[in-house]
């Protein structure tokens, strides 16, 4: 009986992960296909990567996307860290329910609503659509993800260290910089990376809020995908998937190592007389 149950577990894991990874794997494999046809394998080739590199429109939009993602995720990390700190540490204050609503709602809000409402506001305050408006839009939704990540890190961390510092006369701002921030640093880094990929990925909100001259890569991919599947798009997607996979792996290894080192230091500190 026990054996049967664990076989079931292994089978569901294998099937589940095949389902999750097979489509991406096929996409990567077919980006190296010589033939333009998706189902005909005509030999290994990297020519689509070359064509992609020479496609100026694609490269321009990739550059725009990268700039938006860096700026947006940096601002989002700042605002989101503050928001997470407020949610986890500031207790009750007037308007807290509204605040937490504005943090959680964007996580599930359909993108068409967020995109449309931001666009209409930019038009109402006659802000020219382009790089700035896309960046503001991306900051707004990704700061909420950062806030949730930072908040969950803060509630699981013993606040008595902070209280001890403040009891010893350390002002709140300094306590935050010297004690809280180093502890939540992995969550802040994870939040930055998360905002970066969210911004890199967004099609719907960018389509609403952008203007001429600031076409992002997902918008470019989308307009080409509507015309049909091409190995060139497969090549772009493969590079994006590779970059993200490498980034996530490196980040998780770094945070794990930091965590281990911190634990060791803490143990050493406790052991010292």
């Amino acid at each position: 009986m026990k054996q049967g149950a664990s076989w079931f577990n292994i089978a569901s894991l294998v099937v589940g992960f095949l389902f999750l990874y097979l489509p991406i794997a096929l996409l990567v494999i077919y980006s190296f296909n010589e033939s333009r046809l998706v189902t005909v394998w005509a030999g290994f080739s990297t020519k689509w990567y070359g064509e992609m590199w020479n496609n100026e429109g694609l490269m321009n939009s990739a550059w725009v996307t990268l700039k938006v993602a860096v700026v947006a995720s940096t601002f989002a990390t700042f605002l989101g860290t503050l928001a997470g700190l407020i949610m986890a540490r500031f207790g009750g204050f007037r308007g807290r329910t509204l605040f937490s609503g504005m943090i959680y709602a964007p996580l599930v809000m359909p993108e068409v609503i967020t995109g449309l409402s931001l666009l209409l506001m930019f038009v109402a305050i006659s802000l020219d659509r382009g790089f700035v408006t896309v960046t503001i839009a991306h900051i707004t939704f990704s700061m909420c993800y950062v806030a949730v990540v930072v908040q969950s890190r803060l509630v699981s961390f013993d606040r008595s260290i902070e209280e001890a510092a403040m009891d010893l006369g350390c002002p709140p701002g300094r306590t935050f910089l010297q004690i809280t921030l180093p502890v939540i640093a992995p969550a802040v880094v994870a939040g930055w990376l998360l905002s970066f990929t969210l911004s890199l990925d967004d099609l719907v909100i960018a389509s609403f809020t952008t203007g001429p001259g600031a076409t992002t890569l997902p918008m470019k991919i989308y307009s080409q995908v509507r015309l049909g599947v091409t190995p060139e798009i497969n090549a772009v997607c493969t590079i994006l998937v590779g970059l993200v996979a490498a980034g996530v792996l490196v980040a998780s290894l770094v945070t794990r190592r930091q965590e281990l080192r911190r634990e060791m230091e803490e143990r050493a500190a406790q052991a010292a007389p």
């Binding site: 009986m1 664990s6 894991l13 589940g16 389902f19 999750l20 990874y21 489509p23 991406i24 096929l26 996409l27 046809l37 998706v38 189902t39 605002l79 989101g80 928001a83 700190l85 407020i86 009750g92 605040f99 937490s100 504005m102 959680y104 709602a105 599930v108 809000m109 359909p110 993108e111 068409v112 609503i113 449309l116 409402s117 209409l120 506001m121 503001i136 900051i139 707004t140 806030a147 949730v148 509630v155 902070e162 006369g169 002002p171 709140p172 300094r174 990929t197 990925d201 099609l203 719907v204 997902p218 991919i221 989308y222 995908v225 509507r226 599947v229 994006l240 998937v241 996979a245 996530v248």
Partner: protein
């Protein structure tokens, strides 16, 4: 009682702002010296006079941002949904109009909402979105539960790697993952190729551009959102309960229904909200994988806005969608608050 501990002592704060006690060369020393410069000093004094403390200032920064760029836009959507479409820049009539004698007239009409009721396209889109989102949520739960269960019961040393493997697709582009399915599902695609080669079918199946493709797309894209809360929940479960049930002669299948499922209910609900609410307004999946007969309100809103350029009507569509979703969103927020508190 914890509150009083973090309430800043005003005297300390003043000392901090004046730079007393901050060691030179440290970051906070630099910070304190920066605050001594006249413009900052004046600003800080003005803020203090107005009763703005450091704590309130910290709250104000993200609060004002979200008010300006998340809440205020909804009010504007509401306003424009009451306007009429005109050929102009911007393409809608103003809500407030200056008339003679210095009076302001309010021009609002519910025409857009009446139109949504009259034209069957819209309410059919809402109902069809609701159906597709509900069915996909159930399917995602049925597929996600065994995966989360398998992960939670896997040996401890595997769990981190398994968790990373579920999270990784979530970090890769949504658009790319949807796009990957086009190559698989289309008539001359990989699935039909594999099935004909295996001799299972003689005629290629039509899956792409049907509702089935939309279900596959939603289940695939949102699966991590279902698996992660379920896993977090199942992993914490006390396994001795199952042992006790087995000792008392309860069969494993029954124990699963009587113990495991009720205990994992918070995970099931959280995962279902995370799938259902965004799926309801989904645009990319029905647009790329669905056919012309696949009605979803996100797609209708998009074409109303970008193809017909009817901003007031698309605003009305958005307002109604928001009204449909406001209850699930509030329930979701409540649950998140509760779990955040329970963790602490």
């Amino acid at each position: 009682m914890a509150r009083s501990a973090k309430e800043p002592d005003p005297r300390q704060e003043v000392a901090y702002l004046q730079g007393d006690g901050a060691a030179a060369g440290t970051l906070s020393g630099l910070h304190a010296r920066l605050l001594l410069l006249p413009p900052y000093r004046i600003l800080v004094t003005v803020l203090k006079r107005l009763g703005v403390s450091g704590r309130n200032a910290v709250i104000a920064i993200p609060y004002l941002w979200l008010l300006a760029f998340f809440l205020a836009p909804f009010l504007i959507v509401l306003k424009i949904s009451l306007a009429e479409v005109v050929v102009a820049q911007p393409p809608y009539t103003p809500l407030f109009v200056f008339v003679e004698d210095g009076f302001i007239a309010i021009q609002a009409s519910l025409e857009n909402y009446l139109f949504l009721l009259e034209d069957s396209l819209y309410w059919k889109s809402y109902l069809s979105s609701l159906r597709i989102a509900l069915v996909s949520t159930v399917l995602t739960l049925l597929i996600g539960f065994p995966i989360a269960y398998g992960m939670a019961r896997a040996p401890k040393r595997w769990r981190f790697a398994l968790l990373m493997m579920v999270i990784l697709p979530f970090w890769t582009s949504f658009l790319i993952r949807v796009y990957a399915w086009i190559g698989i599902l289309k008539k001359e695609g990989l699935l039909n190729l594999a099935l004909t080669q295996l001799g299972l079918i003689s005629e290629p199946l039509t899956i792409l551009n049907t509702d089935i493709a939309v279900y596959i797309g939603i289940v695939y894209s949102y699966l991590p959102f279902m698996v992660l809360p379920l896993y977090a929940n199942l992993e914490k479960m006390d396994l001795s309960l199952l042992e006790a049930a087995a000792d008392l002669g309860c069969r494993p299948i029954k124990a699963f229904w009587v113990i495991t499922v009720p205990l994992s209910l918070p995970g099931i609900i959280a995962g279902s909200f995370l799938v259902f609410i965004p799926a309801m307004g989904e645009f990319v999946i029905p647009d790329l994988l669905g056919g012309s007969q696949t009605l979803m309100i996100g797609k209708t809103l998009w074409s109303e806005f970008f193809n017909n350029r009817d901003w007031p009507l698309s605003s009305a569509v958005a307002v109604i969608l928001l009204l449909v979703l406001v209850v699930p969103i509030m329930l979701f927020q409540r649950m998140q608050e509760k779990t955040a508190k329970a963790e602490g």
